[in-house]
Each structure stands twice: as structure tokens, then as C-alpha cells.
Symmetry: C2
DNA sequence: TTGAAAGCGCTAACAC
DNA sequence: GTGTTAGCGCTTTCAA
């Protein structure tokens, strides 16, 4: 309950024999209407270093115009033991922002807090990750804060970084078609989720199949079915020789379902998935995957946000990043070729 | 850059026609030296509700004695795309604290920030997750803050929740021994990490083998070797018929190594691992695992911390939670039985 | 080139 | 019962 003993700006001021204002101005490198004698600056910097002084970024935000704080929104829990690529994006993002002199602040975590509510302290911008729809970020959008959505639909006034699931799906279908497959199924996740990739990939599949003159295998739009049922229906009832899975987790279940059904992968049926995360490459057979550009998403998000905060009048940009086909063991020509 | 428009306590005060203090006292349910007319209380609550007022928890911590904030320390990045169980612990912890009226606050994230530095705003307690050693939490320990370490060694003045790797390892060896195995290897992770489980499990393995009169298979203490090399050496050079893996990730690589070496699991070699996380149960073969009590760790951590904060003179407690054997397909009697 | 003082949102000690 | 005021750590006017 005791006050954390980290040094305050007053202590630095005392130690260096100047006022708090001067300390603040020196440490923040103020140029406007301000200059210091070199000796003073050095004394201040020395005192700060000796005390290991670090300003409290949130207190600073009480009064400062610019805070160098970027809020990371959308983190309402720590994951469910199932990890997605978004962590990789968040890491890349953090490092990029840091390089530009910003810090990332994560909202206080509480089940009661709305997921994308702008923070209650002042920040220079916000990143909304994995928002399901545009409505979810309504409050953020109306706050006037500059923001970017990452891997979710953009809001009216924000920039966005998304992933080109359309092209990715087309490339996936193309890959399988080139191998000789003519009956290609799509496996939605076993469990509902609200992320828009759920619809995006499903619809992209239907479109891509249509484009190349193949019929979508029934069941592709059926949610809540087990991987086992999806695979059995696709292969046994509809003659599918390949399955594109919504993500790696469902693909792993498909591999197991195949084993149970005495189907060899890829000999009897090819399996591939979106999102190339561990352990995709280590499975037997290793999984062909449409890799998502996780790190690039983070970097782009940081870049787009900085554009906005540093040039407030610029129009928010929308970037769509390509996915990348990683061919491994789980896809091969169909049995009858 | 514009100030987020979230309402301040002054606005609530204006709207309800009372002073800020009264608003504060009503909303914080003060009892000591304070009572309100019911009409006033209702007006305040109504105004707060209408404005959707939420106090800024960090600003509150500037002056409040008690903040109802618990700091979560140790989160320096968002993960590496590889799942861990600690997220499950953190979730359980958050919900438990929330139920008791606390909120969790995550430090501002920055690569420059020391991992376990106590926050620079006032909190009622702290949780340090996955600390590697006691030294890492030195600053925290000296701060006088009440804290718990979760899944890491305790500090001199803090409570701790750990996992009984010793008993777990013994149970793993017992399981395999009961199946008939006499030559049981241990596979350390491919990549170095600093977490103390690295030594704990390795040493526990050596001890457990010793206790039942079996010889530890050489290589168990060799870090940085690939799963493939570990398995080949254990099976080919030393006749191992079973391998206990440090975690699920290395176990998955062992499965692949086995396939490459034309070893069937579990027919030729049994594989099991610590940490039962997805996709352990979905692999082919599904992995026998020593499950870690992730959620319980979180709950216990919250409980131990609350004990400390609510009864500051009580001695910090140390809880060690049991692991649980989950038998699946990847372990079976050795080939020659 | 620097300091004093006000103020950010909130709580707590002290009035009345 | 309720208001007034000081102060938490920091930045930013305004003065000098």
C-alpha cells in the first residue's frame, strides 16, 4: 500500500538545483521558446540518470498536449490458450512505435470495460486490434482520436490494415486446382466467433470456386459442425479431394478426423489452412498454409497511425496486405490423377 | 490529439448539483465519517449513469490510499505466436480479482522498461508472472508492495504460486514405468529459455529416475539440441523406449522426428509432455500430457494476494499446485513387452 | 535562460 | 450531511 518509491520530477529538480519546469523542458527536449545553458542541461540529465528517473507517462497525460502514448485497444483477455498471429503483429507494432519515440499503453483490464473504449487518459492515438465490425469501434471513432484498425473492418474516420483474404483464397484454390483437384471443400471453424474473417474467407471461397468454374462443396457455410463431420460429409458425400480450413486449429482437427476415417493426407485428401503459425510446419504431415503477414500488419499499423498523428489533416489510409502460400506436405495431387 | 470526451467527476458533480467530494464519496461507497441523504445519493448515481461516467483509475491512484488496482507485471511482449498456459492463468486471475472489486492494470509496454518494475502509479498489489528467478523481482520486492509470483520462484517478501514439477515428473516416470518402460529419456526444449522450469523439470527427471532405480538417459541436460537429434540419440544410441518432453512444442517436434526416423508412436517409442494445451489432444497420436493447473494458478494467485492486501500483517503464503496426468494415445507399453 | 503558478481528475483531511 | 481545499506528478502558460 506504500507509495512506490520511484523518484519524482521534484527530486530531480532538487538534486540538480533547478525548477521542475526546467527539468521537464530539458528531459522533453523542448525547443519552442526555450533554451538551456549547456551546464544546466548536463546537471539535469545527470541527476535524472543518477536517480534513474522515469516520468510517469499517465500522469504526464493529465496535462500534456502530446503524450507519446498510443493506446492498444481490444485486449480484453489474455487469450484462451489458443494463440493467433495478432500477438506477432502487436510485437512488431510496439517496436516500431518505440523506435519513433512512442510507448504503447494497454488499457486497464476488466471484464466490465467495453473492449474498444478509448482510454480515460490522454493518448496521441489508438490501435484497435481484431475488431469484429465497425460498430464495435463507434465510441473510438466518435472520440476524435486518430486510430487504426488492425485485422478488422475500418471505422468511418480511421485508417486500417487488413489482409487480402480474397486474393489469398483465390491463390489457395488455384494451388489445389493446379495440383488437379476439382472438388475442393472449405472447413469453417468448429466454434462460432464474431470476427469478420469468418464471413470473409467463407464468401471468398464461394467466389473463388465460382470464378474457376467449380462448385462449392455444400457445408462450407454451415457453422458449429465438428471437423470430423465436415470432413466426412465433404469427402464421403460430396467427393471432395481437398479441404481449405479456416485456420490452423481446424486444420489440425481435420488431420485427426482424416486419420479416424482412414483417409491418408495428402494421398487421399489434401488439407491446407489459413494462418501459418507453429506447429503447422512440425506436424505430420506438415501443413500447407496461406500465411498471414502478421508482422507487416503491425508495422503498417504503426506507420499509418504515425502518418495520422503527425499530419492530422491527412486522409486515413487503408492498406490491404497480401497473404503468402507456404507449400508443405499436406497438399498433393488427388488420388485419381 | 483532442482530449477524449469521457466525462469527468466535475461534470457529474455539476449535473447532480453536489460537490466533487460528494460524488467521489457516493461512488466509492464511503462509510467512514460519511453518510448521504438517499435523495442525494440517487441523484449522483443517476447523473453518473446518464453521463456514463467512469473514474480514471490511474488519476485516482495519484492521491487515493486504496486504488483497487493490481499491477500485472512480466508482460513485456504479446507472445511469439506460440501458446502458453500462462494466459489461462492470467484470465482466471483477472476474473477473480474483478469479482473482489479490483481491476488489473498492465504496465505501459516498452522494450526499455524493466520487466518486473513496479508501476509508477499507486497500486494495491502486484502479480509477477513467469519470473525466471528471484533476482528479477528485486525492485518489486524492495518496493514494499504486496505481491505474488506466479509460476516463478518467490521473492523474499512475496507470496508465490508454483507448480509441483517434482511430483509431476515422478508421476510421469511412474506412468511410463508401469507401462513397462525401463529406458526413459527426457527431451529439453530446442531453444534456451531462462525460466526456472527448465532446470526444475530436468533435475526432477534425474531424481525421479534415480528414485526408481533407473538410469537417466544421457543428453537430458544438453541444451540447444534439436528434437530430432535428441530422439535419435535417445532411441538409437541408448535404447530409450519413451521420452518425456519439456513441453508440448518439443513433443510435437519429437512426433515428427519419430516419423522421420520411421519410429511409430507409441508402438516403437512413447512420447509424453508437460503442459496440456491445444492441440495436444487433437494430434495423431494424441499426446499424453502432464497437465499444468493453469486456471487454478491464477485463482490461487489472486487469493494469496488478496490475503496480503486485506491483512497486511499476515505472512505471505506459498502454494504449490499438483499437476495432473492426462493419458492419451502417445504412450503405450514398450515394443518388447 | 529560468522560475512560479495554474491546472489536469481525483481523493482525503478538515471545515461547518 | 456536505462543501472547501490541498495535493498527488507532471506540463505549460505567464512573468521575469
Amino acid at each position: 500500500m506504500s507509495r512506490p518509491s520511484s523518484p519524482s520530477i521534484s527530486q530531480v529538480a532538487n538534486r540538480s538545483g533547478v525548477s521542475k519546469s526546467t527539468v521537464s523542458r530539458v528531459l522533453n527536449n523542448h525547443q519552442h521558446n526555450f533554451s538551456v545553458k549547456d551546464a544546466t542541461r548536463r546537471r539535469v540529465l545527470a541527476a535524472a540518470a543518477e536517480l534513474n528517473y522515469r516520468p510517469n507517462p499517465i500522469v504526464r497525460s493529465l496535462s500534456a498536449k502530446r503524450t507519446n502514448l498510443i493506446a492498444l485497444l481490444g485486449l480484453t483477455d489474455f487469450g484462451s490458450g489458443i494463440r493467433g498471429g495478432i500477438e506477432l503483429a502487436a510485437n512488431a507494432l510496439m517496436h516500431r512505435l518505440y523506435a519513433d519515440g512512442y510507448e504503447l499503453c494497454v488499457n486497464v483490464l476488466s471484464p466490465r470495460e467495453p473492449a474498444f473504449a478509448p482510454p480515460r487518459w490522454r493518448v496521441d492515438g489508438a490501435i484497435a486490434i481484431n475488431n469484429h465490425d465497425a460498430q464495435q469501434i463507434d465510441a473510438l471513432d466518435r472520440s476524435g482520436l486518430k486510430y487504426v484498425t488492425v485485422n478488422g473492418p475500418p471505422g468511418p474516420h480511421g485508417a486500417s490494415v487488413t489482409v487480402d483474404d480474397d486474393a489469398g483464397t483465390r491463390a489457395a484454390v488455384h494451388h489445389l486446382r493446379t495440383l488437379g483437384h476439382r472438388c475442393i471443400a472449405y472447413a469453417p471453424p468448429e466454434e462460432y466467433n464474431l470476427h469478420d474473417s469468418l464471413h470473409r474467407r467463407r464468401d471468398a471461397y464461394a467466389r473463388a470456386m465460382d470464378e474457376v468454374g467449380l462448385a462449392a462443396v455444400p457445408g462450407y457455410d454451415q457453422l458449429g459442425r465438428s471437423a470430423f463431420d465436415t470432413l466426412r460429409s465433404a469427402v464421403r458425400d460430396h467427393g471432395a479431394t481437398a479441404v481449405i480450413a479456416y485456420h490452423d486449429q481446424i486444420a489440425i482437427k481435420l488431420l485427426r478426423a482424416a486419420a479416424t476415417l482412414n483417409l491418408r493426407v495428402p494421398h487421399d485428401v489434401s488439407v491446407m489452412c489459413f494462418n501459418d503459425l507453429p506447429p503447422c510446419g512440425d506436424l505430420v504431415p506438415s501443413l500447407t498454409a496461406m500465411a498471414l503477414p502478421n508482422e507487416q500488419m503491425g508495422e503498417q499499423a504503426a506507420a499509418l497511425l504515425l502518418e495520422q498523428t503527425e499530419n492530422p489533416s491527412s486522409d486515413p489510409r487503408h492498406v490491404k496486405l497480401p497473404e503468402r502460400l507456404v507449400i508443405r506436405e499436406s497438399t498433393a495431387p488427388p488420388p485419381n490423377v
